[in-house]
Amino acid sequence: MTPALIWRWPTPNGLPPLPLVGGVLALLAGLWLTAPIVEVDFVRLIGSFGRMLAFAGQMFVTPDWEYVPQLLAKMLETIEMTVLSTAIAIVVSLPLGILAASNATPHPVVYRLTRDLLSLMRALPELVWALVFVSAVGLGPLPGVMALAFVTVGFMGKFFAESIEVVDHKAVEGVRAHGAGWLQVRLFAMLPQALPDFVGTVMYILDHNLRAAAILGLVGAGGIGYDLVMSMRLFQYDRLLLIALAIYVVVTVLDRASDRLRSRIIHGRRA
């Protein structure tokens, strides 16, 4: 500590705390080391601004109105895939969630196994599973729905289990004291308490699945994604504009709706 130092941190020695400095330095070192791998090149970045602008300029074209019916059909398909996969996932996740909740599981071994199974299911992104399922059952929305449902179970089962784990123990004791059986305790004491949390989870997952469904078409697994990539590759900016707009609108509407619903659940009926 030099007395000549004018600027000081509010710490005993006037220097920033060591863990903070260490963390920041480690992060900077990480970024510096990985910069060549990621090919970070600021000249190239700045140079690309022109092309970005040109690209944005190309988006200002008269939309291809002829394409609208097909667009609507594809968007509908995307939404349908989202809803169907989420519904399948809910049905599968509920029992798995009970098995994976430490206070509801029949046996610690079952708990451990279910937890690991769920974490394996959510480990790989939907797109990887979509690739695999497309080569298994062929092109179309089916492999997309399978991939979405599969990964979603991994997330939903975990979230459900966590909501069940935090339910109030007293209510559970109360039902048990009235002679309820194993399944009755879980159905009538635990699930109703965890229900508001479940609804929040389902809204979150719907949101996530919609975004995912919009790009699964990239590997031929249905939805708007295929048209998106094709119009991109073929420089059909009059279509791309419409597709991007449609995705933006649908995602935003669902986003707002789920925000509203969640805050209603958290802050009570009226919010």
Partner: protein
């Protein structure tokens, strides 16, 4: 009211049972799902046929071929680096936008609305779409991928941060404001210190998510391990595909455990 009152009170008929709309909802949901299945032309025959073949199909992944392991590990490294850069980019953007998008910190309603809408817009653009655009502008490679992840998740991170900032105790804000602090000082003294732990949790979550997404960005030419997987699958090279999937799986599980550990340490 005492016991006597209770006895003398005439038994009153129960109020009419509120009608339970549950069955209607269940029926409507089932009908809608059936319609969806019908509209998507999902045939259960294909599915049943598929299930039969599925076991055989997946058995082809039985012998992972690790001859090219060092290349896979390098590609995984590229993927991780892409996720790291994307997350740091998102963190930087969110750090500056979130205080403007938090009602109680924003200097005025106009900046608040602009910041909110910017975040909404970034969130609404799927990262693969952004990656496609950035690849077109920047050329192939991991950089457009990192940018796409960064822009998309900046929208999420900014929203999470802004919501945490809005939950900061009003008294604490007034305590700092009453000293005459300006906007930047309010954010640095009343804002971030109060939400530090929550914010770190969100950053870890986004990092986790970006690693998953970075591993598929290769599909649109944005570098990483995804492109290799796409190619081997197209060539029906199940051994190499299996090896690639296992590498991705192992990495993501390691990150999963590491971030769970870090989160526990933070509490």
């Amino acid at each position: 009211m005492n016991v006597h009152d209770l006895k003398s009170a005439r038994p009153q008929p129960l109020p009419p049972k509120p009608r339970n709309p549950m069955p209607v909802w269940v029926a409507a949901t089932l009908a809608m799902l059936w319609l969806i299945v019908w509209d998507l032309e999902i045939s259960f025959e294909t599915l049943a046929y598929g299930v039969e073949d599925m076991a055989e199909y997946f058995s082809r992944y039985g012998q992972p071929d690790f001859t090219d392991l060092s290349r896979y590990l390098y590609l995984m490294g590229v993927t991780l680096a892409t996720a790291l850069w994307g997350t740091v980019f998102a963190l930087l953007v969110a750090f500056f936008l979130a205080p403007l998008a938090a009602r109680n910190f924003a200097p005025n309603v106009v900046t608040y609305r602009i910041a909110r809408e910017t975040l909404n817009f970034m969130r609404a653009m799927p990262d693969l779409l952004l990656a496609l655009i950035f690849v077109a502008a920047l050329g192939l490679g991991p950089l457009p991928g990192a940018l796409a992840l960064g822009v998309h998740t900046a929208g999420f991170l900014g929203k999470f941060f802004a919501e945490s900032l809005e939950r900061v105790d009003k008294g604490v804000c007034e305590g700092v404001a009453s000293t005459g602090a300006n906007f930047a000082q309010m954010v640095m003294y009343a804002g971030w210190p109060s939400i530090l732990r929550e914010a770190l949790g969100y950053v870890l979550y986004i990092l986790d998510r970006n690693v998953r997404m970075a591993s598929v960005l290769g599909l649109v030419g944005a570098g990483g391990i995804g492109l290799a997987l796409h190619d081997t699958l197209r060539l029906f090279d199940y051994g190499q595909s299996a090896a690639l999937i296992l590498v991705i799986l192992a990495t993501i599980l390691i990150i999963d455990y590491a971030s769970a550990w870090l989160r526990r340490r933070l509490d």
